[in-house]
């Protein structure tokens, strides 16, 4: 099949270390206790529907979407709501949560009505189902899928891209999913295509997963799905980079893929969509890779949401040596965590343990102006210069140098010979620029309200007086 693959700018080649790619997915056994955060997605926390002491069934909705950008949350098993409390999130902040004590019976709730003949269903019905099932982007960002799949009518979508790249080193969850459930994934892709009304479906897979490429090509022979084998390069699986690689289109600054007629979905998300539509199963479990050299038996597991990390590590046989660093996600974009009480959520693609020999402790030095970060930044920013601006807290300057376009892929930090924590600088700048904008907006609104009030008062007091007179 002739296919044209374009090359995105920059990128790096970190060691793959995908040691668990041959380990089949194992369903994790039922636990006694699940900690379910009410915010597993970007946007507003879900609105709680149950109370302390309520009995719930597996798949029952615990919390409903509370805003436009929000997603419902479902019970991972049947049992008792023990407590409504808070729990530690990956970012070190406390999130609202419920604690569910399992009754050991795992009784399913009345499922959402399966839609086996989805080929004939109205796209609106399918969309509603995806929203009700609480499906979010499972590649990492956890953006509610229903919003991504309902672009405004003026945005014409002509290409659906399915992301099976899994460019993060160490992670193998998507790879295993493609090998073990190709039919569900293909059905999920076709459901998305039906909703969006697109004909062109591209599935991008990196060449280090040649077995998945072969299998998916085999399975999609009679469909319009085109499987594209991509050269291995990090961050091939980033949304904007994947779109460029497959279509040569560039997402404008501050824009979305739908602005250039593309929608990107992760393979795990389309699998969840197929489960929700065909079987009526809401999203309460996901495939997570638990890996790292300190582990006895790394592997890929189907965990229910709310499983604490400690339990995941125990299932992977425990550790043979003390891990020095534990990362939620992959080594490039993941976040280091310090507590194993953190629960697995809808976007936990991996838990990575690193031994002392693998973690380097270095002192960050001054920028030596070598420019390597400029060569590797896939967004074509200048991370070295930006980091100096950010160190001086010149956030307005950094903003004019497009710091907000940074996607925190980590290529610059990976390549920097001076060991500068460039991504940390970028994250701080992005947070502070956002905060500055919000403060400015609030100040403007307050000023306008005050002026309107004063104008009303003045008009009331002296309707005849000339305007502007003191």
């Amino acid at each position: 099949m002739p296919e044209i693959i374009y090359q995105f700018y920059g990128g790096v080649h970190p060691p793959q270390a995908k040691i668990s790619s041959q380990d089949a997915i194992v369903s994790a056994p039922l636990l006694e206790r699940y900690v379910i955060p009410l915010q597993m997605h970007i946007g507003a926390p879900a609105r709680l529907l149950v109370q302390k002491g309520n009995k719930v069934l597996r798949g029952q909705m615990l919390a409903d979407a509370s805003a436009f950008v929000s997603a419902p949350i479902h019970a991972p098993t049947s049992g008792l709501i023990k407590e409504v409390t808070t729990c530690l999130g990956v970012l070190g902040t406390q999130l609202p949560a419920v604690i569910l004590e399992s009754d050991g019976e795992d009784t399913p709730a009345e499922p959402l009505a399966p839609i086996p003949n989805w080929q004939d269903s109205a796209p609106a019905d399918l969309l509603r189902r995806i929203g009700d099932a609480g499906i979010v982007g499972m590649g990492g960002a956890a953006f509610p899928t229903v919003i991504k799949l309902s672009p405004p009518p003026e945005k014409k979508i002509d290409t659906l891209i399915i992301n099976g790249v899994e460019c993060e080193p160490c992670l193998t969850a998507d790879h295993r999913l493609m090998l073990e459930s190709p039919d569900k994934i293909i059905a999920g892709m076709q459901i998305c295509a039906r909703i969006l009304g697109v004909k062109r479906i591209l599935l991008g897979i990196e060449k280090n997963k040649s077995d998945a490429v072969d299998l998916m090509r085999n399975k999609t022979q009679d469909t319009s799905i085109q499987v594209c084998a991509l050269d291995v390069r990090y961050p091939q699986g980033a949304e904007k980079q994947l779109i460029y690689t497959l279509t040569k289109r560039k997402v404008p600054t501050g824009g979305l893929p739908m602005d250039i007629g593309c929608v990107v979905q992760n393979v795990a998300s389309v699998y969840a969509i197929a489960e929700a539509v065909i079987d009526g199963t809401p999203l309460y479990q996901r495939i997570t890779t638990v890996t790292g050299t300190p582990l006895q038996s790394p592997g890929n597991w189907r965990f229910r949401v709310g499983t604490p990390y400690a339990e995941a590590i125990r299932l992977a046989g425990g550790v043979t040596e003390d891990p020095v660093k534990i990362i939620s996600g992959g080594p490039m974009m993941g976040v280091a965590v310090y507590s194993l009480d953190i629960p697995i959520t809808k976007n936990t693609s991996g838990i990575l343990l690193m031994s002392g020999a693998e973690v380097s402790q270095y002192q960050s030095k001054s920028c030596i102006r070598c420019g390597r970060c400029n060569d590797t930044c896939p967004m074509q920013l200048m991370p070295g210069i930006l980091s100096v601006q950010i160190e001086n807290e010149s956030f307005d300057l950094a903003e004019s140098w497009h710091v907000m376009d940074c996607m925190e892929c980590g290529c610059c930090s990976y390549i920097c010979p001076a060991g500068r924590p460039l991504v940390q600088h970028m994250r701080r700048a992005k947070a502070d620029v956002t905060a500055l904008h919000q403060a400015a907006k609030a100040a403007k609104a307050a000023k306008e309200a005050r002026e309107a009030k004063e104008a009303a008062k003045e008009a009331k007091n002296s309707p005849a007086s000339a305007p502007g007179k003191k």
Binding site: L91, G92, T93, A336, Y338, S339, S364, P421, R428, A431
Partner: protein, 274 residues
């Protein structure tokens, strides 16, 4: 000789021209405004709530603001400005910043080793700083760097401490602290609750020896009007503050008689105590 005449006459003509332009087109600045502006400290710290000293002077003259909002202005200058403008000044309560956390390395535990950028606001981006108490002071000095008056010190045990004699209460640190631990309180208040965690007492106690565990002993000792409970945290009524002796009722020392717990910090404080 000719050159001298030409230069002299050019000078005189130009001088006359300038004098005429100033006479007819000159911007009349308010002498009152100039006088008031001269009495402001000129530090442009923003503590009054205006963009800088000139903006505040302008607001005072136009009647929008009253004298006395400036935290750094001396009492004399406030009186002078009030006399100039013929208004009464704001009731001036000297305010100082207090860092509502006593969790230094002796008191609070840390769950991870952080070796990233040495700034609290950066550390917030990495697991919120990895202190066991997710609400506590990280001790990386974002507030100390933001303070225009050098009033905040980071002790050797990694806790930010305010020196009240240097603090003017401008509030820059309040905006900078990513954990929102800093409050502006009346300088005369004898007691402060140096804990900001809303967690349950048991949870807090595990993370920090100096936490307010919500035992309510201080409320019983002082009475509801002076200290009340907000969840598991005692809150002082700064309008009617309790006396300093109440501090002895606190089993953990979270209720402290001195601002920012100076009795348990850096070496020079030990010298003072000795």
């Amino acid at each position: 000789m000719q050159a001298v005449v030409i230069l002299l006459s050019t000078g005189v003509l130009a001088g006359l021209a300038i004098a005429l332009v100033v006479k007819f087109f000159g911007v009349q600045s308010d002498p009152l405004l100039e006088e008031v502006a001269a009495l402001t400290p000129g530090a442009n710290c923003g503590g009054c709530g205006y963009a800088g000293c000139a903006a505040y002077a302008d607001a005072m003259v136009s009647g929008e603001a009253k004298p006395g909002l400036c935290p750094a202005m001396s009492e004399d200058n406030v009186k002078k400005i009030s006399a100039l403008l013929g208004v009464t000044s704001e009731v001036r309560v000297r305010k100082v910043a207090v860092i509502c956390c006593r969790g230094d390395d002796d008191m609070a535990t840390r769950q991870a080793f952080y070796n990233g950028i040495n700034n609290c606001r950066d550390a917030m981006q990495v697991a919120a700083g990895a202190k066991t108490c997710t609400y506590g002071c990280l001790g990386l000095g974002a507030c100390a760097r933001a303070c225009p008056y050098g009033a905040i010190e980071i002790t050797s045990k990694r806790l930010a401490v305010v020196h009240p004699e240097l603090c003017v209460g401008c509030g820059k640190c309040v905006q900078t602290c990513p954990k929102k631990l800093i409050k502006l309180v009346p300088a005369s208040a004898p007691l402060h609750v140096l804990c900001s965690s809303p967690e349950k007492g048991v949870t807090k106690r595990k993370a920090c020896k100096a936490a307010c565990i919500g035992c309510q002993k201080c409320v019983k000792a002082a009475g509801e009007g002076q200290i009340r409970m907000n969840g598991f945290l005692a809150v002082i009524n700064y309008g009617d503050p309790p006396s300093a002796e109440i501090a002895s009722s606190c089993p953990t020392g979270a209720l402290s008689a001195s601002i920012a717990g100076t009795e348990q910090s850096g070496p020079e404080n030990e010298v003072i105590n000795a």
